[in-house]
């Protein structure tokens, strides 16, 4: 099941990164977001970090192991937002 937050994040990813060939249904919450799976890259990671900060007030160090963990898939990303959101 996809939670409401996960649905919201799917839209955030698609809109922020201007992914034109991806619909929310195409994003599997357990599939990797980067490289395989959705195929996002390092530029996307930066963009996504900025979007999370703007929308939820979450600050991340751009290139830490911790960030990499949070960005693994949609579920880990949702867990991060759940835990740290200030907005």
């Amino acid at each position: 099941m996809t939670s409401e937050l996960e649905q919201e994040l799917k839209h955030l990813i698609i809109d922020t990164l201007e992914l034109e060939d991806v619909t929310p249904e195409d994003i599997d919450p357990d599939e990797p977001l980067f490289v395989e799976g959705l195929g996002l890259d390092s530029i996307d990671a930066l963009e996504l970090g900025l979007a999370l900060q703007k929308r939820y007030g979450i600050k991340l160090e751009s290139d830490s192991d911790e960030t990499r963990h949070h960005f693994r898939n949609l579920r880990t990303l949702a867990a991060l937002v759940e835990e740290r959101r200030t907005a």
Binding site: E18, E20, V22, T23, V35, G39, D41, I43
Partner: protein
């Protein structure tokens, strides 16, 4: 007396000569009382344009000139030149292009919205001074390799090149028939200035269809028993139909020229077989003018034009010097790679195009090549897209069976292409925006230029627009566009809760927009009839939009004679092509069809927009 010895044929200004009966332009209309526009008429027409210009602005000033047909163009151009003015030739007549030139202070002239035209009263022309160093025209590059560039051409540059062509391929009173736009350097020189300077006639109108070409050649020969020269380009020569009986006009054409892009070998043979003479291709650019020529059926190599010096460097880049470059003594590099043997050379292709994606340097040429080698891919071209960290867009021509028709197929195809490229390129530089086409998109010059590129990616900046993937025009009133429904289309959200679809009213909106862009129909939609939306249109779906217009002459046509100008391949040149048809009521039939069936169909009634002035 003219000063031909010191100058070439342009500065000699032969249109000023006292030779009233000389044929300047040939009237293509069978019903004209006389087949000619003579030098006497031409001079009076130049005077009439000058009267209009005089009433509007003091000289010197800048005009932006665009006309459909070579004769009107010549009159307006020379009228401005002889006043001492500067003329800008916009590459197309899209509103954005013209607005940018408005900002430079240029006044609109000719067949463009708000353009000045000749006064009704013929008047004696005033001759001024054409100085060798003065800028005669400002042209714009097609933008096939980046942003369109502004290029100033002085009279002495044009003069030097015209003199060379007159010597190499004299017209000798043959008729020049043009199938290309005179807004670009090749058409300007070959279709307009060469005949004017060589005292040879040209057709008053542009020849837009093979049927017209056939008809005009037959009529010309019957009237004069003289030969003709065809100024053409790859898109037109490639599409010459076998169905016309070309043997009827065999021998009328003495020469065919093609430029703008290399002519595929089989197209060269096709044209030679049907038209009965070899195609002399001209290689050059807006920056350099003509560089070299070839007849492919004899030799695939290029021969430098007389006066042009060529050499290559260690990277095989082409360098040249020519009397008609802005600095004739300086060796100037070209973006093409060559192997030079004396005055001849083989073209190897463009030099590597380099772009920066997210700060990383990538070779676009390497992407084009790598994609082009994949199965089902016929051709690919990658471009950096502005404002997206330089993210790449890829235009990919596919074998028909590989073309994706829905969201899932498109997504799978993109993933498999990215997977195939992954071993050779970093993930972050892979193309993100993909445009899959069945036919390579080209403008009238045969290039995938800035206009085509901006249409292909327009949906990225306009969330209400469909994705445009190409179009074909079947005559002036009928077009077929290939479109895709963007997944992020603003309209698809929230129409039906469970299934995002394109609302019917959006299809109507798209049809109206396409009628404006592709058929130049600017009317207001007053009525809709027989509107049906049988099948839902889904995000990611590929559809063909067919448009067919019929003009109702009886109701609002106020002109004694309604001209129906035919159209060329470039949709944007058509946008303002026919002021008359916008004065009439038009019925526009539209149909959206996909592989699954018909998604929308209906007939719209368009009436003239009140208060719009057409030149």
């Amino acid at each position: 007396m003219t000063n031909d010895a010191a100058h070439g044929p342009l500065l000699a200004a032969r249109w000023r000569e006292r030779d009233p009966a000389r044929a300047v332009a040939w009237q293509t209309d069978a019903h004209s009382a006389t087949p000619w526009r003579t030098l006497e008429t031409f001079q009076a027409d130049i005077g009439a344009w000058q009267a209009a210009l005089d009433a509007h602005a003091e000289s010197p000033c800048s005009w932006m000139l665009s006309t459909h047909d070579p004769y009107r163009f010549s009159c307006a151009l020379i009228a401005a030149w002889e006043r001492g003015d500067h003329v800008i030739l916009p590459a197309d007549t899209r509103p954005a292009t013209l607005k940018a030139l408005d900002a430079l202070g240029a006044v609109r002239l000719g067949d463009i919205s708000g353009g000045l035209t000749a006064s009704d009263t013929p008047r004696a022309p005033r001759w001024g001074a054409l100085e060798a160093e003065r800028v005669a025209v400002t042209l714009y590059t097609s933008g096939s390799t980046g942003e369109p560039q502004r290029l100033d051409k002085r009279f002495d540059q044009l003069d030097a090149e015209l003199a060379m062509h007159a010597e190499l391929w004299p017209l000798d009173a043959r008729l020049t028939l043009s199938q290309v736009s005179h807004q670009h350097i090749y058409g300007l020189l070959f279709s307009v200035l060469r005949p004017l300077c060589e005292r040879a006639p040209f057709t008053a109108e542009m020849c837009r269809y093979p049927e017209t070409l056939h008809l005009w050649l037959a009529r010309w020969y019957a009237q004069t028993q003289r030969e003709a020269v065809l100024i053409s380009a790859p898109p037109t020569l490639e599409r010459l139909p076998e169905t016309l009986d070309w043997s009827e006009v065999d021998g009328v054409l003495a020469r065919i020229h093609s430029s703008g892009a290399p002519l595929p070998r089989d197209a060269a043979e096709h044209a030679q077989r049907l038209l009965g003479t070899e195609v002399r291709e001209v290689y050059g650019s807006s920056e350099t003018g003509g560089i070299a020529w070839r007849i492919q059926s004899r030799d695939t190599g290029w021969t430098a034009f007389p006066g042009v010096e060529v050499r290559d460097d260690a990277e095989h880049q082409l360098w040249l010097r020519a009397p008609w470059l802005s600095t004739p003594a300086t060796w100037t590099p070209q973006a093409d790679r060559v192997v030079v043997e004396g005055t001849r050379f083989q073209l190897l292709g463009r030099s590597d195009r380099i772009a920066k994606v997210g700060g990383k340097r990538v070779s676009l040429t390497a992407f084009d090549r790598a994609l082009g080698e994949l199965p089902d891919v016929r051709r690919a071209h990658c471009v950096p897209l502005p404002g997206r960290d330089g993210r790449l867009g890829a235009i990919v021509e596919l074998a028909p069976e590989a073309v994706p028709h829905d969201h899932d197929a498109r997504r799978q195809l993109i993933q498999s292409l990215r997977t195939a490229l992954a071993p050779r390129f970093e993930n972050a530089v892979l193309p993100r925006y993909w445009r899959f086409v069945e036919a390579w998109p080209r403008d009238a010059q045969g290039k995938l230029g800035a206009t085509c590129l901006s249409r292909l990616f327009a949906d990225l900046d306009d969330p209400r627009a469909p994705r445009w993937l190409g179009e074909t025009l079947d005559g002036p009133q009928s077009a077929r566009l290939t479109l895709e429904v963007p997944e992020r289309l603003a309209y698809v959200e929230g129409h039906f809760k469970t299934q995002p679809v394109v609302p019917g009213v959006v299809m109507v909106r798209w049809a109206l927009h396409a009628a404006r862009e592709s058929l130049g129909l600017h009317g207001v939609c007053r009525d809709m009839a027989r509107i049906k939306f049988p099948l839902l249109l889904l995000p990611g779906e590929r559809v063909t939009l067919a448009l067919d217009a019929t003009h109702d002459r009886s109701r609002e046509a106020t002109h004694d004679k309604v001209h129906h100008h035919a159209h060329n391949n470039n949709a944007h040149d058509n946008a303002h092509n026919d002021a008359h048809k916008n004065d009439m009521t038009t019925r526009l039939r539209f149909t959206f069809t996909s592989r699954r069936g018909t998604h929308g169909t209906g007939t719209l009634t368009l009436t003239p927009r009140k208060g719009t002035r057409h030149a």
